[in-house]
Amino acid sequence: MRRLRVLAPMLLTAMILLGLALVPPIAGLSGENYTIDVFTRIMIFAIAALSLDIILGYGGMVSFGHAAYLGIGAYAVGILAFYHIDNGFLQFAAAILASAAAAAFIGFVSLRTSGVYFIMITLAFAQMIYLLSISLSTFGGSNGLNIDVHSKFLGLLDLGNPTTLYYLVFGVLLLFLFLGHRLVNSRFGMVIRGAKSNPRRMATIGFPLLRYQLAAFIIAGVMCGVAGALLANQELFVAPAIMHWTRSGEIMMMVILGGMGTLIGPVLGAIVFLLLEDVLSGVTEHWQAVMGLFLVLAVLFARGGMLGFLYRLRGGRSGA
């Protein structure tokens, strides 16, 4: 029983990752790129959701402005491309630095508060960045910015090829899952878990919490910034809408839907959320209402997200 509870997440992770690895060859049989594009987008949002889960699920920091980093990463690529700097290493470095700087500033201010104030302040900062992007008329303002070329990696990768882009995104997702796994089980990970579980006790046993929470906040921001840089490459377009607060809400829903405080949960959540959106929007124009209903049911009946639901089916107890 215990072994099963340890093995089940690993098995599920392996199955999901194997499935994702096989999407291009299987989708390629029909000779069209639609499915590959859909799953590229899913994995990009899986990275964003995973990054949010590190601070939300493990660290208990309910950041309601996570889409801001998606936007910052995407605009870093878009703006450099606008000035004909198409070197991918430079573009991704810019995305990482810009999202790190933004997360450092936002975290430094927001982490002084907690509870609903923290939610409101992170939301307010994201909204400010959203409005800022609208005011940048040089870069298209609210109409957005077309990107002429993909990031160039010394001719090693042609991101214009959907399969190449797919496997780049897949590789980044794998890397972040692995790094995330090390992080949440390291000493650092124990500190942010403790800060979620009982912050008062953490202080009295001797931890200066703020610096660890801020570091986690920056790490999550950077991971999401990388997702944004990948999204810019997929869409060859970036607009303020990428940072709209509803987008932050969607990323959070993916985390909650899949299972907070697990690494594969947000990936599962992104897959289900975006596939459902894709299917429902083709069936009915009221798809958002149906989606909302589904989410409410998921939250009510699947405590611990779908992952928690799956474990209860198998073992009778939550696997959180």
């Binding site: 089980n185 124990m190 500190v191 202080a203 009295t204 931890f207």
Partner: protein, 251 residues
């Protein structure tokens, strides 16, 4: 005379109109077991929270080991050797008992900007954590989720967390709170073993426990110190009051 390990002078804490700590001065010598007693609402928990640095006093000073710590945050007082336990167990319920204590060990094992090694298999954290769990009698429970421990076991884990920081001064807020007589007696035995190994400041309701353990006692009522002295002196005065005035020593 050298300065006591802990020297509190003129401490005042007000909560909108109510004075929970009213000009309290108190010195605690190294190695002493000092009890603060008083009825519910006397201000014992508030006093402990100020020594730990969780609550800022409105007036007064706290000196520890010759240093003014009045403005230091809890984590820096922890680094200087002050630890506390809580009246209502304050543990990490979603972690195992061993994870709980290992976290407290980790807090005093250098910085935690370590992102790579699995903390749960790190012998530098696990070995001391298991030793401390053994010493409080929770060795068998190490891998249980803390939430699943019995009330008495949670009280012991609570103290194990504080001990894992290897304190010079241990503040214990009603260590026997909510315990049955058997568990309470076991706790008193455990505390008498701790006595002499470090300086202890404890608050208690249970008078028998206090008289059995304490070197010196301070009586707090409505935030004010109304009596202080050796256990014998306080016992005598309490008995005198009971005998001649018909008063309960707890009020």
């Amino acid at each position: 005379m050298p300065e006591p390990l802990l020297q509190v002078t003129g401490l005042v804490k007000r909560f909108s109109g109510l004075t929970a700590t009213d000009n309290v001065s108190l010195g605690i010598e190294e190695g002493e077991l000092h009890a603060v007693i008083g009825p519910n609402g006397a201000g014992k928990t508030t006093f402990i929270a100020q020594i730990m640095g969780e609550l800022p006093p409105d007036q007064g000073a706290i000196r520890f080991a010759g240093e003014d710590v009045t403005r230091l945050p809890p984590h820096l007082r922890s680094a200087r050797g002050i630890a506390r336990s809580f009246q209502i167990s304050s543990i990490f319920p979603d972690m195992s008992a061993c994870d709980n204590v290992a976290l407290a060990v980790q807090a005093h094992a250098g910085h935690s900007f370590r992102f790579w090694r699995d903390a749960r298999t790190d012998p530098l954290l696990r070995a001391p954590a298991r030793a401390i769990l053994d010493s409080v009698g929770l060795g068998e429970r190490a891998d249980m989720p803390a939430a699943a421990l019995s009330h008495g076991e949670k009280r012991l884990l609570e103290i194990a967390l504080a001990l894992a920081t290897r304190p010079r001064l241990l503040l214990l807020d009603e260590p026997t709170a909510g315990m049955g007589p058997e568990d309470a007696a076991q706790m008193v035995r455990f505390l008498s073993e701790l006595k002499g190994k470090m300086t202890l400041l404890l608050t208690e309701h249970d008078m028998d426990a206090v008289f059995a353990l304490a070197d010196r006692i301070t009586v707090l009522v409505y935030g004010r110190v109304v009596a202080g002295g050796t256990a014998d002196e306080i016992r005598a005065s309490a008995e005198v009051r009971r005998a001649y005035l018909g008063e309960d020593d707890r009020a």
